[in-house]
Symmetry: D2
Subunit: 134 residues, 4 copies
Amino acid sequence: MLTLDELTTFFNAEFPHVTCTVESVGNMGAVIRQRVTPTELRPGGTVAGPVLMSMADIALYAAILGEIGLVPLAVTTSLNINFLRRPSPDADVIAECRLIKLGKTLAVGEVSLYSEGIDAPVAHAVGTYSIPPR
Amino acid sequence: MLTLDELTTFFNAEFPHVTCTVESVGNMGAVIRQRVTPTELRPGGTVAGPVLMSMADIALYAAILGEIGLVPLAVTTSLNINFLRRPSPDADVIAECRLIKLGKTLAVGEVSLYSEGIDAPVAHAVGTYSIPPR
Amino acid sequence: MLTLDELTTFFNAEFPHVTCTVESVGNMGAVIRQRVTPTELRPGGTVAGPVLMSMADIALYAAILGEIGLVPLAVTTSLNINFLRRPSPDADVIAECRLIKLGKTLAVGEVSLYSEGIDAPVAHAVGTYSIPPR
Amino acid sequence: MLTLDELTTFFNAEFPHVTCTVESVGNMGAVIRQRVTPTELRPGGTVAGPVLMSMADIALYAAILGEIGLVPLAVTTSLNINFLRRPSPDADVIAECRLIKLGKTLAVGEVSLYSEGIDAPVAHAVGTYSIPPR
């Protein structure tokens, strides 16, 4: 089992461009937070779609690493995302991932994304990762 | 029908953070190019997945605007992407979008993404956009 | 709010070929049961993929009708399904749908499918329905 | 390389319930035909969505078997389908599959579905298959 500190250290070293933070990891899940700054906004004052897609991908990766350890060669094989509501430009975005399958070579998880403080999700994603043989 | 110059001017004004360029637009399609710099790479020297997702989204948007004109309120409602092969770190990524439905309120398109100069695609996406009533 | 009896009567009249039954409906969700007979099996003794896809579609439809009433013109616009584990040939399949968006023109829901009595899901789907203007 | 006759014989033996026929196979693709009878229709006189999903799945399977031979243990791992237009109740449905990746353990293909004689597709699907180690 990976600790939150170990995962954060790994992300900071390997993905220095990523600006979101891991809030929790373990029990087949992970929670990710993205601060919303002008960089994350698009015209109309909403959070850009690619920011949400990127968060979904990172939340899946974090949840998988939380179970199998620091395996950098796990790679995304698919991501399906539905955009449900306009995110608030004034709130952080929270992504909650729950793995629904963790096989030897394939992991599948779903991710719900929220503007912090608002119950209805702004997006929902399902992604698959290929896990390299150990 | 929108010209390439009109679309490029619109993107530069509305999406100043976007670093890819529109190569062609029209006939229910669009082609987008992304230069690959260290910003687009992830550990292992491959193009980051979110860069490809973002390109697929922009290619769809460009193809739709090419048909309906500059309607900034068209929004992505879903994106499904399959990652097929490792992109080359040394080649631009090209995204070719083809619309397969352009209805009054919904557009659907598919996008093939390539490392320039290599035939086999690195990713394939299908996305849907909601078009506001005119 | 639609009752289970009203929905069952509607399904029996409109979809006489459908062999699954609605177990519950309401609160933005629905539960569907499919008995597994030789018709539902494929070689190797597992439940055929199209049976699961069909159940996911019906579970979404039931959940939507439970909220908006008997609107036969609601139509599926997309379905994304991940097959996770081999279903048991000896157990009914249960599909649990939960709507994550119910807008005026678009509904989105997710469906978890189980072999009855086994906790780990056999498949997971996300689907979208277009709702006609009222 | 598998011939059309070999594949048809295999399908008839292994999937006696399947009523569609393989029209062609090879070159990383396959074409499937489904006659439309009252069994395939739903209220409103259109072809049922699950019929199209099932065809997409079979077209993918046929295209894969055409490349790797009769490997019955290849299984669908995901299917994403967009429904684009109402199919005609009076025309056969044709599904054209093209594989976009054929790896050692994973195949990905896209499928366009048409009402015969009408150019605009009624649906478009992307599916993935897991291929067992040989």
